[in-house]
Subunit: 289 residues, 2 copies
Amino acid sequence: MKSAVEPLKARRIYLLLRDRIVAGELPPGRRLPGEPVLAAEHAVSRVTVRRALDLLEKEGLVQRKAGSGTFVHDTRTVRPIVADLSNVLSHLIDMGRSTDVKLLSFGYGVPPESIAESLGLKPGERVQRSVRVRLIDGEPFSYLTTHVPEWIGLTYSEAELAARPLLELIERSGVTTERATQAINATLAGPEPAAALDLEIGSPLLTLTRIVYEPSGRGVEHLHALYRPDRYSFHMDLVRTGSDGERRWSPALGWPRGIDKSKADKNKTEKNKQGEKPTRSPRVTKQRS
Amino acid sequence: MKSAVEPLKARRIYLLLRDRIVAGELPPGRRLPGEPVLAAEHAVSRVTVRRALDLLEKEGLVQRKAGSGTFVHDTRTVRPIVADLSNVLSHLIDMGRSTDVKLLSFGYGVPPESIAESLGLKPGERVQRSVRVRLIDGEPFSYLTTHVPEWIGLTYSEAELAARPLLELIERSGVTTERATQAINATLAGPEPAAALDLEIGSPLLTLTRIVYEPSGRGVEHLHALYRPDRYSFHMDLVRTGSDGERRWSPALGWPRGIDKSKADKNKTEKNKQGEKPTRSPRVTKQRS
DNA sequence: CAAAGCTGTATTATCCATCATACAGGTTCC
DNA sequence: GGAACCTGTATGATGGATAATACAGCTTTG
């Protein structure tokens, strides 16, 4: 029979420790149990424990000091970018950080059936396919694969795609975009995304699949996005709506400053809990839409 | 030099093939290249290729026929549950499927600092912590860790928690919930979640962290949820809003019918469940005939 | 300073995933 | 039927991950 492919022991221990760290069970600054102790606890050799700690260190979750110990790193310094549901990078703009785009692949052809179906294409209809990587401060954080019907794709050049948001190019071509559906999920990094995102194969990735429709109902863009979870995540504010019978959460439409708030608030609710009016975040929009 | 912990080759090839399948490059029904061909392509032995195919088969992505070949399975029969952003299982209700809850852990204590901070607790303030697993049709799909201030948690019993939604219990206690923030991300399964969700360690998971606030701004619930991506995903409809200068996507509040339709075709295959009981697969390491 | 920790590093032995190969049995097609 | 595929299964050889052990150098503590 097959012996199921089991993760390496080092990886096992890495995941275990990582969980305890991100769960807060091991708070920032705390010293981890010594390597011999960990080795005994998990019934592995010290070499294996060190491999696990190597991984944690490479991810910036712990910091090792020779002769002293291994300490949980203050992760607050390494925060992921925050995006709202519209995929707008919230405080990216405020902070004036720059994003670059690298175009990995560009071409035309007949798409796989699943894409054709979701775009509502006629059999054999051609699309433009592109693969892009987006970087922030030189570090890659997203891997985008897009499919656009050929008749739209032909209205802009390869260089334009690398320079401007795709949706802007689509709208410039005269198409009106009105409706979209998107799904968020998780997956593991295959070889190409892993290489492009500077990750190891098998790393976790956040996925977003979005299909944009024009009013007639035809699809005009199919986006498959992969995000590094340590550099990107989706945030949103919810408000309780509906009358008593059918209560549920709805996305807050007031504007995002939500995440920053949830963080700024914590200090506030503690110290001065008089209802200070939430300061309208100064919309310093760098105009990047 | 440290030889970095590299994923097993079998896993590598598994991920590669999986990507090509879900991307639609290998459409349902298509025969995969033969095992010897795959082995040559990836410069590995046939045994390793088989291990990769074993994984794909176990996930239902391919179907093997002795003497004939390995075929891409029609994945449309194995679709994840769909939830909107409010975390409401959309057509789950329509279809009359049942969800059960298993309570894995229940107790009171002082939470880790990161939780206390996000709930806005006073130092040393106690919380109720619970870990639950949610199942659909007997299969686990989510692993929920919740922290609730003690004064709220004491208003209901352990049994009630296992039977009713937590938020309902909180509101029953007299607390009004008004606002919440949530973040969606991805991670790898550690030992406990993996066991509870019937997954291998290192499987990808979708995460949702939600903090619910009462009007005064105090946190009343901290939820950390892990979802199996093959059984759960977030979907939403977006509409293009805003005037010309500042166009963006907003969540559509009207009801999703787009996604439901794509799934409405329930070609129930007979391959659903064999009589085998999934309780505990005896880890057969070696077997000689 | 000295003792007791700790991390960093090296060595050798063992175990397991992978390799290379061979063969059995089913399916497809001529 | 029979050739040419395919998957299923078994074998021994090999290499990399892990184990067990030892020691060096640093930090903290008394």
